[in-house]
Subunit: 356 residues, 2 copies
Amino acid sequence: MGATYGVIMAGGSGTRFWPLSRAARPKQLLPLGGQDVSLLRATRERLSPLIPAERILVVTSEALAAQTRAELPELPPENVLAEPVGRNTAPCVGWAASVIARKDPTAVMAVLPADHHIANVRGFLSVLERAIAAAAEGDMVTVGVRPTRPETGYGYVELGEEIAPGVHRARRFVEKPDELRARQFLTAGRFLWNSGMFFFRADVLLAAVRQHLPGLGDALAGYDEAAKRGEERALVQSTYATLPDISLDHGIMEKAARIAVVPGDFGWSDVGSWTTAWELADRDGDDNALFGDVVAVDTRGSYVRAPAGKVVAVLGLEDVVVVDTEDALLVMPRSRAQDVRAVVNALKQENKTKHL
Amino acid sequence: MGATYGVIMAGGSGTRFWPLSRAARPKQLLPLGGQDVSLLRATRERLSPLIPAERILVVTSEALAAQTRAELPELPPENVLAEPVGRNTAPCVGWAASVIARKDPTAVMAVLPADHHIANVRGFLSVLERAIAAAAEGDMVTVGVRPTRPETGYGYVELGEEIAPGVHRARRFVEKPDELRARQFLTAGRFLWNSGMFFFRADVLLAAVRQHLPGLGDALAGYDEAAKRGEERALVQSTYATLPDISLDHGIMEKAARIAVVPGDFGWSDVGSWTTAWELADRDGDDNALFGDVVAVDTRGSYVRAPAGKVVAVLGLEDVVVVDTEDALLVMPRSRAQDVRAVVNALKQENKTKHL
């Protein structure tokens, strides 16, 4: 069995945590998991018991490469792959697979989003070990999370027969359902959230790329050739924008034959909104999550964040989010956290892009 | 008839407009009347048709004297009287009467708080003319505002017989009533809000001071003597703290014999809270009063203030107050505006006095 590599996908530039998250400081670089460390660092540290730093790769954007290297200084700098433009996950993972396969074609890749939160790290690691073992056998493996609500924002994967203890065949992937179907999935029991974590051997992934996304396969072969001449960087610069803008799920996983699912139940959260940040945070007796110099009077169920050097006072609030930063402030009911995009769009329309 | 002098009482250091108002920048220096100018400047400008700048005095604290002179640069600097310590209105008005009487003992003083808002300036001026005329006859005159709600936060004055067109004898002053009494006052019709505006001849006021507050009378006589030697400032400095801490209402008006009331109905407001500021402000189609760079999405009935260089975004709010400043932010329902003091007290208890 080849060595295991971690591949952390850290290219996100989400707007759902505006105004704390910005184009230049996206979600994965923020401490939103109820801890003091960024989500990216937490992701990397969770892998420590299984994968040493020199076998962890991070794929991010060029704009964020320096910050990402600074956030994970223990990684060799060349392990941070910088995409010249944002593409979807298929090119990102394909490129990482090429880089890894040059050293060890049978290496197992554990591909993880940089911006998730996991409450039960021990449970997570045992799922990882199972998934890595299945991947070493040649399967392409996804981790399915048992749904706790009829979520319409995620894709689902349907469990098939068990092929090893805790490892199932995947019957099919299902795109984001409407609410009725999501409720059916929740009661049916055999539909799991597609967590966005993937495990496969580098050579298996690259074969699947050649089969299902031959254009990407050709491009990656070109990168391998260029790498031999020390010219990979230049070729990536000039060609990355031409790679297909497609996700690993759509482009590969949904088409591949040997897909396995490892069900997991380890307090997973994709930290999707300020509401989630409130849920994950330490809260006081009034159910408030307060950060910085906050004075809360008659306030309950609220998330309040003060920037350095400032006092934020809240009086008589219930279930409200107040996120203050040096140059932008957001106030909304916690129930509107999904609509932060509307604010960001309004700012764009008014050309207030310096605050984005 | 002597000349008319305006005396603007501008010593307030209210906390109800925190965080915009601070000890170093209280309410009267803020543009809270729905206009671009401070309440103090608006008060001074309202008097312009009746009283020239050189006959307007402002009494304020030493700490605010420089800002007050800067706010009203058209006044002779010596017209801003600086109190070494905050006393109540009896010493403040008594001192101003002394200063004025040295020039013209029969001058009529129009004593006005610096922090009120008046919607109908024309109506206000005609009330003023009536009050000034009554004062010139030797009466001590107050302006009574017809109540529009059962307010328990104001003192009331009961109307007696009419002694001249639009001028009544005052039957009695009534302290802040409980709600039941306030409702009775509202229906009875002959109880008016004591507006805190007073009119009397300087010599009449000083005679009343000697009669009802003889200690203050002695001190003021001492100031007159010191003024002849150019030593008033030093004497004020060393003795002002010993003056009685009593209001003009309690100390003089409630005890004096010839009190008249001029009823007025000119859109008066004491600008008592952020709710009032919202009421007085220009509001958009969603009933929002927005100041500075504010992005409001799905928001109604709210007062939102952004400091320079900052964007404040509100999403899904109803009837909320958001006042942001460089080093302090307040968020509360509009209905809680009376409780800002609770926040200020909490800050004091936590020794966060630099934000007060």
